[in-house]
Symmetry: C2
Subunit: 283 residues, 2 copies
């Protein structure tokens, strides 16, 4: 496995592969790999000739109050994990290479980015779409695999790819969970032992909401959200950022529950750690 660190060498290799008619699968990440990331790499490995995993903690998608400086990282650990999955290139550019001093361009998706995570993280998705557009042009993939945990990010990227006509297939890959049900996240590493119960409330809220609908499919979105919120706020360490039921594509609130309805959650643990989770309600 190659480790590349500059946009120039990454793009040069990507162009060589294009010239050789090889297909490329991309997995964009912020590193600190867990089983969720590894499952994305396996998916890309299964469908493309060459697999590129990018590792870049993108400063422009973090607000000044957020956890950019504390975001967990260990390049050597990630390097071994990616290599073991048969990844061809781990691409870990530095911030100056990605954003030179006179950087002036942004890519913005409107509408989809204003609610949910966009409401509590203003500017976040502009940072995401800008860096993903750059990574697409640096790595020139045929397919790119994103985790469904960041469901809003996935919807926003699908929209950007469609609107800007990137010749790239976007694949969403299911959430990987701990045995406890906790959705895997690099941010779980922030959790202290006495915060684990609170962290589990997100997946428990999803189970509880689904059970409510299994008992009686006619429950309204309001009733289902109330049930999910009840499970979460029963933990005094939890504060709700949002509990919503939205259409999986438009991200607009659902008037009634359908197979397209997704329960989406963002919860702060001790005002310190922001976790998200989601699930279709009828599966």
């Amino acid at each position: 496995m190659k480790l590349l660190t500059t946009p120039q060498e990454m793009q040069a290799l990507a162009l060589t592969w294009k010239g050789e008619g090889l297909t490329v699968g991309l997995v964009p990440t912020m590193g600190w790999f867990h089983e969720g990331h590894l499952s994305l790499m396996r998916k890309a490995r299964a469908i493309a000739d060459k697999v590129i995993v990018t590792l870049f903690v993108n400063p422009i998608q973090f607000a000044p109050t957020e956890d950019l400086d504390n975001y967990p990282h260990d390049l050597e650990r990630d390097r071994s994990l990616a290599e073991a999955e048969g990844v061809d290139v781990l691409y870990a550019p530095d911030v100056d290479g990605m954003y030179p001093e006179d950087f002036k361009t942004s890519v913005r998706v409107s509408g989809l980015t204003t609610g949910l995570c966009g409401a509590s993280r203003p500017g976040h998705f502009d940072g995401v779409t800008t860096v993903v557009a750059k990574l697409f042009n640096q790595t020139l993939p045929h397919v790119a695999v994103f985790g469904e945990k960041d469901f809003q990010q996935l919807a926003v990227i699908r929209q950007m790819v469609r609107d800007l006509d990137f010749p790239i297939e976007i694949i969403g890959h299911p959430i990987v969970r701990e045995q406890s049900g906790l959705a895997m996240s690099s941010r779980n590493s922030y959790l202290k032992e006495d915060e684990m119960d609170a962290a589990h409330s997100l997946s428990k809220a999803i189970v509880s909401a689904k059970n409510l609908l299994k008992q009686d499919a006619s429950h309204s979105p309001e009733q289902v959200k109330e049930e999910a919120a009840r499970v979460i706020v029963s933990h005094p360490q939890c504060s709700i950022d949002y509990v919503e039921i939205v259409d999986r594509t438009s991200l607009q609130p659902c008037d009634r529950i359908s197979p397209e309805s997704m329960l989406v959650l963002a919860v702060k643990i001790n005002q310190r750690i922001r976790l998200i989770d989601n699930s279709l309600l009828i599966t």
Copy 2:
């Protein structure tokens, strides 16, 4: 020469050419071809295996008060002219194909876009960068050739390409002028016979400014701008939008005249027709 009209068929052909290892030269236009456009096509023809000319009058780069509805067009005329230049594809998508109803994405370059044409045409360059990003992804060129008449557009596109890492070389091609000195423009077709003298004031102002500097290279930017403005406002049909001397790359005003200094002009003729022109001052 092929005429293509949908993003899907354009991108499919571009991907086929990529797979065959052919180089592609792109000439983006709004049609109503004149010798300026044809010179861009010849440039692309000379350096690439395949030449794509796009013809799209992009609504999102026009303000509601501007000349979108009157912009001159004649597809059959343009088709013959492009074919005669050995163009491989004339790509003329329709508005619905480029901007489907749920279109939500924009590409913005800050800084470079606020002054000059950006000041009098708010939102114009966002429309330009968004459509050019789309056209790049639809046609996947190795090089793209733009006219230097739209000097600010060229600077903005260079910045976008650098910032978003498009694997595309941008070539600026010199202004083509009528024998009278008038910079060729599709918008010249709006000029009535009694407006031609006024239209000629832009190129005459450039000649006059250069002559002033030939006499004495120590003239200040203010003195040179005054001379250019004097020539223009001597025509009662002319009103100045801007007369500036800027660095050719940063587009920032020059403190003193250097080989990088560009005189840039935008003038309205009878408040109806907005013409632009530019030139380096020391050549």
